[in-house]
């Protein structure tokens, strides 16, 4: 069964490359994309609960930090593992991001590396 990934980013290029890249190169993922926090919550409210969320931080309207915080307020959503996928590479952001997320991946990233890290998180969650 394919693993459902939800990627949240305000950059359409990232959304496209993650979705197409993961789905085409690897047969084991089904990727939904959300252009920002609002779209993400709409998908979740519609019952599209993914196995893992890839979350950008610097987004207009609702930033990734707040998206994360809001996910934690819902009993079902808070169980979804979150991986930050971001260009924010300062020590504080990384440090605080790693505290609560399953992984913190810096942009730019390699698709193969992304797939490996996603699999590691899902494997850990499955155990």
């Amino acid at each position: 069964m394919k693993k459902k990934i939800l990627v949240i980013d305000d950059n359409p290029m990232i959304l496209f490359s993650v979705k197409e890249g993961l789905e085409e190169k690897f047969d084991s993922y089904q990727v939904d994309s959300a252009n920002g926090g609002k779209e993400c919550f709409k998908l979740l409210e519609d019952g599209k609960i993914p196995d893992l969320i890839l979350l950008d931080i610097m987004m207009p309207e609702i930033n990734g930090w707040d998206v994360y915080a809001r996910l934690q307020e819902n009993e079902e959503w808070k169980k979804i593992p979150v991986v930050f996928l971001t260009a924010k590479t300062d020590d504080y952001s990384k440090g605080f991001g790693k505290l609560v997320s399953e992984d913190y991946i810096e942009k730019p990233f390699e698709l193969d590396e992304l797939a490996i890290r996603i699999d590691e998180v899902l494997k850990k969650k499955g155990e």
């Binding site: 930033n63 930090w65 707040d66 915080a69 934690q72 020590d91 440090g95 605080f96 505290l99 609560v100």
Partner: protein, 398 residues
Amino acid sequence: MHDQIDHNAVKAILNTLRRKIARRTSDDEAVSMLSRFIEELTPQYGFLKYVSVNKAIYSESESIWVAPELSDVNEKEVFSALHKLVKKSVVEMKEKADFFFIREFQDAFEDMDVVHKSITDDIPLDEMQHEYLINRAHALSLEKNQLLINVVHSLLSVANSQLSESESVQVMEKSFLEILPQFPFFHSVNIVKNAETKGFYTVELSDNFQKIPTFQFADALYKLIYHVGNHLDFEQSSQFQTTLLQKIGKRDAELLRKLNVPIDHISFSKSHLNHQDLMQQLVQSLIEIIGERTSKYFAVAVMIKMLGNVKQSHSLLEKIKLSKTPDNYSLQFADDFESSNENELRKTVKALIQAVGAHLGRKRGDFIDELKKKLGKDFVSSLENMGINFHILEMKLN
């Protein structure tokens, strides 16, 4: 037990020793002293060639380097060399190597799990401390019973400068109760009303304090002074200090100094910070620090998660509930939080700071500095008096 000790652990031990020596002498002297000791001990312990003390470039954390090859040397041998280094330092510093030197050195490892067991097993610090104080007590011809009676009397008298006689006794009794778990021998101190003089209370001892180990006795006196001072309403610690010194008298004040009871450096928080205030301020400060770099909403979510994680090993956090409100957050405490054990609170505070600072890498020093600023002087002082060593916490991060 491991047969080898990691070279980084040895580096941490040596740098701690260097800092403790520097506090009593100077940075240059500490570096030069340790270089000389290492040179002297190298013929006996060849592996000390892997240790280099950097005289030219002094840096707070990295003036002593240890090569990875040291990790291959037998642990017993390494600790034997370290023991000699500590002993040499004590001898060399003479009067400057006080009781607190060995204790501070020992305390510095309380939180360093990697080396704590080994250092307490293999370097007889307790024994060294005891030996030092026995020698010192003999030299001082210390009459502990008389000294204790005078200190208690003086404290009562200081309290009486602000309070009524009965209130002063209450403050003393409250202070004794607070430190009884740590110093049960205070059970045998009795404050009784002197009917004959119709005046002040007298202090009687129902046991002989002469047998109490001197280092413990000195520690107990300091804690007693600190707790009484904390209950009184002096504007500044220095006012309490001056009044107390006058009451104690020159001879016993000198005796206390020689026992390294820091009567000239008493510092307590002006406000009486209770457990709830401390925890509230800590959580609030951590939320602010995280929130300024991320978002307040995220910071609250992080703290909720951290409190949950740390709760697994520190059940005191069962008594705290942090929740998000529409615009802010609320922190609620169980009714019995205030009566929680201070030792438990200390461990919980440390664990929480470590949990939040866990991944900060090069920023860990900044994080601890900023936390101290956010907490404020009174809170930092209270936490330090409770036994939180911010420097050690910084070392433990990462």
